[in-house]
């Protein structure tokens, strides 16, 4: 009876606070949508002024028998940036200075010559505007694409080196400056020397010198053959073999759905539960209710139920809306609701604990935000991306608050991922018991 009376009273108060309700729902939905978009969409390409100073007639260079078209690498680079073509170096610098582009990339005219000589590294010029974040963005984009270009170029250069080594070993025709030369090759040279040695008398004074040259030819053939593998290894120092483990991997867009729903659920439940309990203190009615009118457990339960109910309605509406754009398995809707209810209850119980600790609605809301936001970021830190000690600390903090297990429960309910829904729900049940005890202690008269 007391529970129903208090629920009716709180719903009436909420109905008379339309701005609060709109903020309470709009804010978490906006945050959730932003997080979802950030997780599921590809980053925009940085605008970079681009100047290619290589004359078109020199865009192709010859390395041995290989033709290397430098414009091919230009196209590859454009996959990482949004190029704004300029015609002069001064214009490129002006674009960066004026903020039209966040950087300028200039291919110098002597790049093909530097590559053809292979005397050292060839260079491109990159000009930044001094903004650390933008510089980092462009640097990463250009460096990753240059690494790919270098890899391809190395492979081509190693093929050229291979052909020269083959010519040295086995001989053949060498085309150079329009002329053709017949190259003997070390293998044939060694055979000729061996045949010459067999025809010489054993006491011939020429024999020791020819034997020495024949021995050298034998060593050269063996080692030059092996050097081709060494050149190949330098051209591709690390090869990646991709392997997919058994089981289902959550696509990023459906994981983003679970994150967005968990964030909405968390904000609505924590803010509402903490705020409505703190309101009892602020209105001085808590002392009246404590007068044996309403047991502490009933009062806390009522706030938790109210917050869970509103939170689940908001989260389910949001999930249903997202379901119009992202394919979801509607056959699992019962499991979604279970995950939302238990997750929402865990958030709400955390909320009443916060509301019991502080005495004002504003302080309760601020504390709820201060506690909630870091939990989201900590739960989304990928494992292995930080040092061992810090990762362990993040794991512990994430485990003692309900966001991570709620996200796991929602992800398991929506995407059938590991850990299982049962494990996540058991984790949440333990947190509900813990925060419930804390709330009761904090609300003792």
């Amino acid at each position: 009876m007391a529970l129903r009376a208090l629920l009716g009273k709180d719903l009436r108060i909420l109905r008379r606070s339309p701005v609060l309700v709109v903020l309470l729902i709009a804010y978490p939905v906006a945050i959730a949508v932003l997080i979802g978009l950030a997780l599921s969409s590809s980053p925009a390409l940085p605008r970079v002024a681009f100047l290619n100073e290589i004359p078109p007639s020199q865009a192709t260079i010859m390395l041995g028998s290989e033709r290397i078209d430098t414009t091919r690498y230009e196209k590859q680079l454009f996959q990482a940036i949004q190029p704004v073509r300029v015609s002069t170096r001064a214009q490129a610098i002006a674009d960066v200075r004026d903020g039209d582009t966040i950087a300028a990339l200039i291919i110098p005219p002597n790049l093909p010559e530097q590559l053809a000589n292979a005397a050292g590294s060839a260079y491109v010029d990159v000009i930044y505007n001094g903004d650390a974040i933008n510089q980092s963005l462009v640097e990463n984009a250009i460096e990753s694409k240059l690494a790919q270009a270098n890899s391809l170029l190395s492979a081509q250069l190693s093929r050229v080196a291979d052909s020269y080594i083959d010519l040295l070993l086995t001989g053949g025709n060498l085309h150079f400056l329009g002329n053709s030369f017949d190259v003997l090759g070390l293998v044939r040279a060694r055979l000729l020397l061996a045949a010459t040695l067999s025809r010489l008398p054993p006491s011939s004074p020429l024999r020791p010198d020819i034997e020495q040259v024949e021995h050298f030819a034998q060593i050269a053939v063996s080692n030059l053959g092996g050097s081709k593998q060494v050149i190949g290894a330098v051209a591709a120092p690390i090869a990646v073999v991709q392997q997919m483990l058994s089981g289902r991997k959550t696509p990023l867009d459906t994981f983003a759905v679970a994150v967005a729903v968990a964030v909405s659920l968390m904000f609505v439940c924590i803010l509402l539960a903490s705020g409505m309990l703190a309101l009892e203190r602020e209105e001085n009615t808590l002392a009246r209710l404590h007068r044996k009118l309403v047991p502490t457990g009933v009062l806390l339960g009522e706030k938790a139920l109210l917050a869970t109910g509103v939170g689940v309605i908001v989260a389910f509406a949001m999930l249903s809306g997202i379901g119009l754009f992202v394919p979801l398995e509607w056959g699992r809707v019962g499991l979604w609701l279970v995950a939302m209810l238990v997750g929402g209850l865990a958030f709400a119980v955390l909320g009443v604990a916060l509301g019991a600790i502080v005495r004002e609605v504003r302080a309760a809301s601020l504390l709820a935000l201060l506690v909630s936001l870091p939990l989201v970021f900590l739960a989304l830190v990928p494992s292995g991306s930080v040092s061992g000690g810090l990762e362990e600390a993040i794991r512990v903090i994430s485990a003692v608050f309900p966001f991570k297990p709620s996200l796991e429960a929602l992800d398991a309910a929506v995407n059938q991922t590991q850990p299982s829904l049962t494990i996540a729900l058991a984790h949440l049940a333990a947190l509900i018991a813990g925060f419930g005890t804390l709330a009761r202690l904090a609300l003792r008269p």
Binding site: A287, H290, R291, L293
Partner: protein
């Protein structure tokens, strides 16, 4: 007939004694004023009597039917609910048998009928205090506890409020109120209880405080009495 009996009540908060060995009796239709300096333990004693705070030792005993109605110092009602909604809610929580009748009666007695549908947050301080008292009386308690009920009211509102309380007293309700207003205690209370640092220094008729005094000098007699007692 004794409506309320407090026996050797003690309450400690950590190392601090808030109420020490307080005993008194209150008869039907009697008015008791609790006076004392700030921090004397007046609100703590009222909270124990109301059942909102458990004493470390001692006992509070009620006689006959009807419970305790409590009116805290600061208005303790929901500002987003209307006057009638507040009364109805607390009537339900107090398990009043006929909620509609109780609400109508309180609206009439407090003179708030015309404001019944107004949100409490939009009422004046005096009217809010009337709602606060009406909530304390909604279950028709045998004993009404009031914590500094007139501290935020102007003289006209104070007079109207005491008219209302006296009408309840005349119908048999016993009243205990805490106040800093010595003249108010003398005017309306038949019994006086003086607290300082949780200790009960005096219990008796106002005229007995300080061994007799003129009407205008009760406040001076009270201050002298505290000084004599080392407070």
């Amino acid at each position: 007939m004794i409506q309320l009996q407090a026996t050797q009540l003690c309450k400690r908060f950590g190392e601090r004694d808030a109420v020490v060995d307080v005993s008194f009796e209150l008869r039907e239709g009697e008015v008791l004023a609790i006076i004392g300096p700030n921090g004397a333990g007046k609100t703590t004693l009222l909270s124990i009597l109301s059942g909102g705070l458990a004493p470390n030792s001692g006992e509070v005993r009620m006689s006959g039917a009807g419970g305790v109605g409590w009116v805290p110092q600061q208005t303790a009602v929901y500002s987003k609910l209307s006057v009638a909604e507040n009364l109805r809610l607390f009537a339900r929580l107090e398990r009043v048998a006929d909620i509609g009748h109780a609400v109508e009666e309180m609206l009439d007695q407090t003179g708030l009928r015309s404001r019944a549908r107004d949100e409490v947050g939009r009422l004046s301080g005096g009217n809010r205090q009337r709602v606060n008292i009406a909530v304390g009386l909604i279950a028709d308690p045998a004993v009404l506890l009031l914590d500094e009920p007139t501290s935020a009211l102007d003289p006209r509102q104070r007079a109207r409020l005491w008219d209302f309380i006296n009408a309840r007293v005349a119908s048999g309700t016993s009243v205990v109120f805490a106040t800093h207003d010595i003249a108010e205690a003398e005017r309306y209370a038949g019994q006086l209880l003086v607290l300082a640092d949780g200790e009960m220094l005096f219990s008796g008729a106002p005229s007995e405080l300080g061994g007799g005094h003129s009407d205008a000098d009760l406040e001076r007699a009270f201050v002298s009495f505290l000084a004599e007692q080392g407070h």
